[in-house]
């Protein structure tokens, strides 16, 4: 199946989809209530099944430096009133919107992250959407990547108006203009608290001079350009060093409509291009105009929008779509920003992938069938080790393997399978696969049996090559991320009531704990150390570890949760058991009283 780019542009559609829900207008309404309330305030409200929670933009002091924004949220979180209201809202709603304007927006983002982490830990199905209006940037590229990796990007929607300076401020090093910044923040805050709904326009006393405004405007514009060009370069190299970095979806709104952009580098560039067309005074007032924009885009579906008379519409669906998106972003074709903006929208798409997730998943089924024979060969290898006279089991056979063609082949297969699964995870993290991919039983089961079969070989390779002496033990320092992810998938799968709980009739096909051998390796080390350890406290600890492992392993073997290679006569595990028995009997001879005074450690 050849990769084929979708011939359509949809950044505008997503925005109009969002705008035809009540989410934006309700959020904004609540934000204005919160802004008009006391500083450091928040309000919550339930509409139907949806709970809304809005943070006020107003607070005291310049919080945009150092860890101010984080401290602000931590301050909220520690307050009793906040905890009570949030808990009540979470418990009473099927879904919640966390929202905030200006600095309230960053608090909202942090709050949403906090809730998402919490919900993940309790496997809750509550939906969370964070909608911010003119929020400053919050974190760096690492935060942005972490959010992408957790697939939380879709839970964040930042509304940014065409000229608003606030979301762009943190592109600039602000040390040089703290005084202007101070004025600016105060001006905004006074305007906001003065503009409780229905009481707009009471002009605050503090104002920046025209010249200072102009300086600030060009300073921010310039910094944004700088970051933007760096971002373009970095997008190519896939690394980013700029301090602040956007995450989630950005809805850019203008007089003409709205577009939604997801890719971080494109967000930065669009911010720059839209800002370029503004001027010093509108860039400050635009921060206060979200009510106007939200109203505008929320009712745009009623009007027929089309191209201006006389404009030529490109024949290609894609080109035409880009032109329409450009129109909605409020950049007219005559402006110098038009060309770069078009390129930026195109690039945003280019960085997405080519095929639809369902087709990717379908294609992956084919690729899986191509690598499954590798797995079958490893199964074959495992079975032949079981039959072999050496009685080593496939773990030890592989660990002690020579340079035969067969050993080489098994190792190749192991690497090929790892490559395949890493690829799957990469696609998943890039949103190239269906969102419920990791819940589909086919993939959960296949990844699980891959893990059970092949991870022992990875462990064997780790200890064979002596990597544990450099990096430390496998469990803590050597385990590949993919196995941890597959553990999570398996743990989160839906387990029906008919799940088998009866005893096994024979040894399992594959050891059910894929890290079993890593534990054996550590236990072997403990056993070796016990002989040479003289410090009584350390010795006691070693014995405790050994006994714990012994109990654990015995239970596993008794329940037949291991495959039969574990109990093969010459396997590492059998040897370990043997050695432990010997050690105990030796100690019995040396210290016949040992079991009595230390009974609990020595069963």
């Amino acid at each position: 199946m050849e990769a084929e780019a979708s011939p359509f542009e949809s950044s505008e559609l997503v925005a109009s989809f969002l705008a035809s829900t009540p989410l934006l207008s309700e959020s904004w309404r609540l934000c204005s209530v919160a802004n008009a309330s006391a500083p450091l305030g928040f309000v919550s409200e339930r509409i139907g099944d949806v709970g809304y929670f809005a943070f006020s933009a107003c607070n005291e002091g310049a919080v945009m430096v150092h860890a101010g924004l984080l401290n602000l949220f931590l301050f909220f979180r520690s307050s009793r009133a906040f905890q009570d209201q949030m808990l009540a809202l979470i418990n009473g709603s099927k879904s919640i919107v966390i929202t905030g304007h200006s600095i309230g927006g960053t608090t909202a983002s942090l709050c949403a992250l906090w809730i998402l982490c919490y919900l993940q830990s309790v496997s809750s199905t509550l939906s969370v959407l964070c909608i911010t209006f003119g929020s400053p940037l919050l974190g760096n590229a690492s935060l942005s990547r972490a959010i992408l990796r957790e697939r939380w990007g879709g839970n964040f929607c930042h509304v940014v108006s065409k000229y608003d300076i606030m979301p762009r401020l943190l592109f600039a090093p602000l040390e040089s203009c703290t005084r202007q910044l101070h004025f600016l923040l105060q001006y905004w805050q006074m305007s906001m608290s003065a503009s409780s709904p229905g009481n707009f326009g009471q002009s605050p006393v503090l104002q920046l001079g025209e010249e200072e405004k102009a300086q600030l405007f060009s300073f921010i514009s310039h910094s944004n350009l700088l970051v933007s060009s760096v971002a373009q370069a970095e997008a190519r190299e896939e690394k980013a060093n700029s301090l602040y970095w956007p995450f989630g979806n950005y809805v850019f709104c203008s007089q003409e409509g709205a577009i939604c952009v997801e890719n971080a580098a494109s967000v930065i560039e669009m911010m720059h291009l839209m800002f370029m067309t503004g001027n010093p005074s509108c860039c400050i007032d635009d921060h206060l105009k979200y009510g106007h924009y939200v109203g505008k885009i929320s009712s745009q579906f009623l009007s027929k929008k089309s191209f201006l008379q006389g404009e030529v519409i490109p024949e290609s669906s894609y080109e035409a779509g880009v032109e329409l998106a450009l129109q909605s972003s409020g950049i007219s074709k005559q402006e110098p920003a038009a060309r770069p903006a078009e390129d930026c929208l195109k690039k945003a798409r280019g960085m997405r992938h080519m095929r639809t997730p369902s087709l990717n998943a379908a294609n992956l089924a084919i690729r899986l069938s191509k690598v499954v024979p590798y797995r079958a060969q490893i199964e074959w290898y495992m079975a032949s080790c079981d039959k072999s006279d050496e009685q080593l089991g496939y773990y030890d056979s592989f660990k002690q393997r020579g340079s035969s063609k067969r050993d080489h082949k098994v190792n190749m297969n192991r690497l090929l399978l790892a490559g395949f699964w890493n690829d799957v995870l990469r696609m998943l993290e890039n949103n190239e696969l269906p969102h419920d991919f990791h819940k589909r039983s086919k993939w959960v089961n296949t990844s699980h049996s891959y893990k059970l079969l092949v991870e022992p070989l990875d462990i064997a390779e780790y200890y064979r090559s002596g990597t544990h002496r450099i990096k430390g033990h496998y469990l803590k320092h050597g385990r590949e991320r993919r196995f941890e992810i597959f553990d999570r998938w398996w743990g989160q799968r839906e387990v029906g009531p008919e799940e088998n709980t009866s005893m096994r009739s024979k040894f399992a096909g594959l050891t059910q704990d894929s890290c079993f051998w890593a534990k054996v390796e550590e236990a072997t080390e403990w056993l070796a150390n016990v002989r040479s350890e003289s410090d009584a406290r350390k010795l006691a600890l070693l014995w405790e570890n050994i006994n714990n492992f012994e109990r654990y392993a015995t239970r596993l073997v008794d329940c037949k949760e291991v495959s039969k290679d574990v109990v093969a006569k010459n396997s590492s595990y059998s040897k370990w058991v043997e050695e432990l028995r010997e050690l105990k009997s030796q100690m019995q001879q040396i210290h016949p009283q040992f079991p009595r005074f230390n009974g609990e450690l020595f069963p």
């Binding site: 559609l13 997730p357 369902s358 379908a362 969102h435």
Partner: protein
């Protein structure tokens, strides 16, 4: 785009359409009557459904959009067996109130009788209705076609509606296409008529306004009141239409899962209803536009209804619903424009009749996307067809493997033992085939193949062959690795969808109940019973009896191999255990002596 007279293209003459319209409009307010049969024409019998004009007759039940599963009642489950997505095992959703109305119709003694006599009279039947009557006509037509297909009767039926609200969800449209019934449904919709869009809005948002509007239609309401609520009503319906249309369009156009979209739909649910069948839009300028792509129709429902001024709403959007006769009278004389090959539609207006509906480049791009999706589905199918040769080749390998083992260890048991190199080779063939079929299943799951796919005999046959040949090997593999002890019985925890889907296809085609074609997985039941029996567990008598009867039947029909009865087969082990438990069945005993030279105890 193509134009020509309507009659030829859709198989119903202008005269009959006009007559349907006249009848539909004149019977719409007959509240005491559910339907009317008109025999006055020599060319067709008309069955006209009257409208219902109370909010509770549009929205009932406690769902947000008044929807219900079509199999929610026993009678409807029997009446609409095809209204589902077969492999995915999803059942169609329809409007509960309209379904109820049709229940009243069909339960009356007269209806079935009249339909039967119409069929006997060899005249085509036209089910027709205006507004909600049209919605009932749709259900009646589906009911009729379902009966026809099972009775193999050759009557023709058409459904002609005027300004009908939507009746069912995406699966209805999918199933109509699969059964090749889409062309039987012809929906006339006036461009600005608000009614076909009403069900796209949740009841809670429009209940009050809808009450006024419906009362206004039955001439009991006041114009003054309407004037104050009409703009609100229009705005709410259009907001929901926009919500749904942009959601659908995003899905048409997207090249990625947009996670923001998923999040938003957790907050606001879009309406489940989708257009189905064929639509003919009346442009209001004397032209007719014919579309048979339901996705495109949905987009057009949104893009063609935007009005320029608020004060046009009552005249254009509300009143339009009542007046289909004059518009049709005028337009039927003109040529109809057929919109196909939507993916080639120019984004700028091109002077065709479609301009009247959607001058807007945004709308036209959405129509293009709808066309492109359909084309993509065709291409996906082509790509799978390209793999047929590989499938045949690998299946041949397995057939030879089966023949090789038929007299010795048995197909199933040889594979389960995996003693020989050729067993390993068979495993590789199995995996190759599994990959191809898994891809097909994934595509079906995402509706990435043409709707007709699951109804095509060639695929049903291939799927059945594949299922019978390869599934025993999957079961052997499963029990060989004792996966049942890791996660549970094969049938519950291990059976891949690549076998479930083709089994459902065959059962649907034969009209059998679900589970009737389980011949490919009887080994799983053998293994489970054997496990129970050898663990001294309780073996359910009916379960043992049923298994033996079924095996006997399948071996005799030749859909299961005789190697079942080989001396060392897993089945023989079970047979011995059953002997110990005194659960052996005579029927199978006879069969065993017949097929093997063994004398079995």
């Amino acid at each position: 785009m193509d134009s020509g007279t309507l009659g030829k293209k859709i198989g119903i003459s202008e005269e009959l359409i006009k007559k349907s319209c006249t009848l539909s409009l004149s019977y719409r307010f007959y509240n005491e009557l559910l339907f009317h049969v008109d025999n006055s024409s020599s060319d067709a019998v008309f069955i006209v459904f009257t409208g219902s004009w109370m909010v509770k007759e549009w929205f009932s039940g406690d769902q947000a959009f008044g929807e219900t599963r079509i199999d929610s009642k026993d009678w409807s489950k029997k009446a609409f067996p095809s209204m589902r997505s077969i492999g995915n095992d999803d059942v169609a959703i329809v409007n509960q109130a309209f379904l109820k109305r049709f229940e009243l119709v069909s339960k009356g003694s007269e209806f079935v009788e009249k339909v039967t006599s119409a069929v006997d009279g060899k005249k085509p039947i036209i089910f027709t209705g205006h507004s909600s009557g049209g919605a009932v006509a749709v259900l009646a037509t589906i009911w009729f076609l379902e009966r026809q297909s099972s009775e193999a009767n050759t009557g023709t039926a058409k459904c002609v509606t005027f300004g009908a609200p939507l009746v069912g969800d995406y699966i209805v449209s999918h199933a109509l296409k699969r059964e090749k019934w889409s062309k039987h449904f012809i929906h006339f919709v006036k461009r600005y008529d608000i009614v076909p869009r009403i069900l796209l809005a949740p009841r809670s948002s429009i209940q009050q306004e809808l009450e006024h509007v419906l009362r206004y239609y039955t001439a009991n309401g006041h114009h003054d009141q309407l004037e104050s609520i009409a703009p609100d009503f229009y705005e709410k319906v259009m907001r929901s239409t926009s919500f749904l249309a942009s959601h659908a369009a995003e899905k048409l156009k997207r090249n990625t899962d947009y996670s923001l979209l998923e999040t938003i739909t957790n907050f606001t649910k879009p309406s489940p209803y989708r257009p189905s069948g064929t639509y003919i839009f009346c442009t209001g300028t004397g032209k007719l536009v014919h579309l048979d792509n339901p996705e495109a129709v949905l987009q057009l429902l949104f893009f063609s209804c935007q009005v320029s001024h608020k004060n046009e709403i009552i005249r254009s959007c509300i009143n339009a619903h009542l007046d289909y006769a004059t518009e049709l009278e005028r337009s039927l004389e003109e040529n109809v424009v057929y919109v196909d090959r939507l993916e080639k539609l120019p984004p700028a207006s091109d002077g065709s009749a479609l301009d009247d509906l959607a001058q807007n480049a945004r709308g036209r791009l959405c129509l293009r996307a709808a066309g492109a999706l359909e084309k993509q589905k065709q291409e996906n199918q082509q790509q799978i067809i390209g793999k047929k040769a590989t499938m045949e080749k690998e299946m041949k390998v397995l057939e030879e493997y089966r023949t090789f083992n038929a007299q010795k260890v048995g197909y199933y048991d040889a594979f389960k033992k995996q003693n020989e190199e050729r067993d390993f080779a068979a495993n590789v063939s199995r995996l190759e085939l599994a990959g191809i079929w898994d891809e097909i299943i994934e595509m079906l799951k995402g509706y990435c193949l043409p709707d007709e796919f699951e109804g095509e005999d060639s695929w049903i046959e291939l799927g059945t062959k594949f299922r019978r040949l390869v599934e025993p090997l999957d079961i052997a593999n499963y029990y060989r690795h004792a996966k049942n002890e890791d996660s549970g019985a094969y049938m519950i925890k291990g059976r891949p969808r690549r076998y479930r889907y083709p089994q459902r296809w065959l059962e649907k085609k034969k009209g059998w109940e679900s589970g009737a074609c389980g011949e490919s997985c009887f080994w799983a039941e053998v293994e489970e019973l054997l496990k129970l029996a050898s663990n001294d567990g309780e073996v359910n008598e009916t379960r043992a009896k049923e298994l033996q009867e079924r095996i006997a039947k399948w071996v005799e029909q030749g859909v299961a191999g005789k190697d079942v009865f080989l001396e060392d087969s897993t089945f023989l082990k079970l047979w011995e255990e059953l002997g110990r438990l005194k659960l052996q069945q005579e029927s199978i005993h006879t069969l065993m002596t017949k097929f093997t030279k063994l004398s079995v105890s």
